[in-house]
Amino acid sequence: MKRARLRLYQALLLAAVFTAWQVATQPDLLPPIVWENPNRAAFFFGEPLKMFQVIWTWFSEGTIYRHLWVTLEETVLAFCIGAAAGLVVGLWLGLSPIASAILEPYITALNAMPRVVLAPIFLVWFGLDIGSKIALGVTLVFFIVFFNVYQGVKEVSPVVLNNTLMLGANRRQLLRHVYLPSATSWLFSSLHVSVGMALVGAVVGEYLGSARGVGYLIQQAEGAFDINTVFAGILVLTGFALVLDVLVGEVEKRLLVWRPAQSETEQL
């Protein structure tokens, strides 16, 4: 299918979903089938037109930028700290069989633990500011990056390794020229997931207690049963996540030029 036509169909699908949503929820538009009270559907599911109004006000008055900025800051910091820690620990355990044998059950346990429950503890430790959100994001990002890097180190091709040894690389050069590139390629393949997790950490943290951020906006609106604002927040958050994902994709494309791309082998 032509690209433009594909985009058109995608846009039509989106429009259709929102139209159906609007028709089903707008009071007195349809005769009452499910609920006697005509406002009930709008109360539970919100009305898309009002959501867009909220979003429009946020952006036209500029009140949302402060919140978006905080959420972005938390996401980026959580990702960077979590990825760096995961990379270091992953390399270390990947290269040290003894350390990984000792720590293995604990890492499995920590990973199995639903780490979102740590959020209230972090709130106590790091306060209501961005620290506690970053800490939560770090715990989520760390394990994804760690496991990928660990796997990347374990799965370095033994032939490439031996070849590099035969070319005269010492231990440090082996780390720098073989283990690190191999590990980072695995790190980048998990980039989409880990950036997403950093965002989850930020938003959940904000939701549980904060004074700024998109999660805070949603939580406030929920407290007031303002379902349209809740959905508006969710839509903004979705758009925000999409933008992040596209940016990550661009970074990935730049950094992994050496990897065989799918499109190169695609049939014309």
Binding site: N162, N163, T164, L165, M166, L167, G168, P181, W258
Partner: protein, 268 residues
């Protein structure tokens, strides 16, 4: 004159899932300086094990290795190794792969680059330096590996079925190129192959190994074909055919034995 590589009663045993497995047993071999020696044997007989011992990548269970008169400890720094499977660093461009050895030795980058470019030209890859391994054909990757090994000017070349993955035309081309490069400075070569014709066409001497386990040399044949040779043409000369006949007869029983063993192993 000291031999380039000398294996003295080398035995390699591995602890496998089905008990101890002796890959090679009491192998004594000597490769003279400037000599091109091929080692042939049935598949799975431990040819690569011997080469890894000579490279210092594998420590023999018993026996000793001497390189240019000195006992070998650790990696064999006097030898270049060309692997059967893909050994290039996939995250490095063709040029950066060829440069790698010089880089590890601390040669300044611009000098290493100049030399790498010269080597790429010598193996017929001028202008392909910026491509990554996955963008090259199998034959081009082998040329890159060859340049990567030869740029360090090692006095000993260890080659483990380097051309077995190539189609027959590319293979003969590469064999001729190898002979040409070799004749320029007569390095000592240990060439592992399962292809008897390739072994005869290239070598000064062919060593035949028995079927595994506990592989040992069972025959040695001097190849008195005149040089320079063209690997495609020389196969048609009567002397070549006579040599092939003689060596093949000594090998045949071992090949059948090896075949029966692998068949039993898969059946069991």
């Amino acid at each position: 004159m000291a031999a380039a590589v000398e294996l003295d009663r080398v035995t390699c045993a591995f602890a496998g899932a089905r008990g101890a497995y002796t890959a090679v047993k009491d192998v004594t071999l000597a490769i003279g300086e400037g000599e091109f020696v091929s080692v042939v044997g049935p598949t799975g007989c431990g040819k690569s094990t011997l080469l890894n011992v000579a490279a210092g990548l594998l420590k023999p269970s018993s026996g000793s290795v001497r390189v240019l008169g000195e006992p070998l400890a650790g990696i064999n720094r006097r030898a270049g190794y060309m692997f059967q499977t893909e050994a290039l660093m996939p995250w490095r461009s063709c040029l950066a792969n060829v440069m790698a050895g010089l880089e590890f030795r601390g040669v300044p980058a611009d000098e290493a680059k100049r030399e790498a470019q010269a080597w790429l030209a010598r193996v017929g890859l001028a202008g392909f330096g910026d491509l990554y391994p996955h963008q090259l054909s199998g034959g081009m990757r082998k040329r890159t590996s060859l340049a990567q090994m030869l740029i360090l000017d090692p006095p000993i070349l260890l080659m483990d079925e380097p051309f077995s993955a190539l189609d027959i035309q590319t293979r003969q081309l590469m064999e001729n190129e190898l002979l040409e490069l070799w004749s320029a400075d007569r390095k000592s070569v240990v060439f592992i192959t399962h292809d008897l014709e390739e072994a005869i066409a290239l070598s000064d001497r062919v060593i035949v190994l028995s079927a595994g386990p506990a592989t040992r040399p069972i025959g040695e044949f001097a190849i008195d074909l005149p040089r320079p040779r063209d690997v495609a043409e020389i196969r048609l000369t009567p002397r070549f055919i006579a040599l092939h006949d003689r060596i093949w007869h000594s090998m045949k029983d071992e090949v059948l034995k090896g075949y029966a063993q692998t068949r039993n192993r898969t059946a069991a």
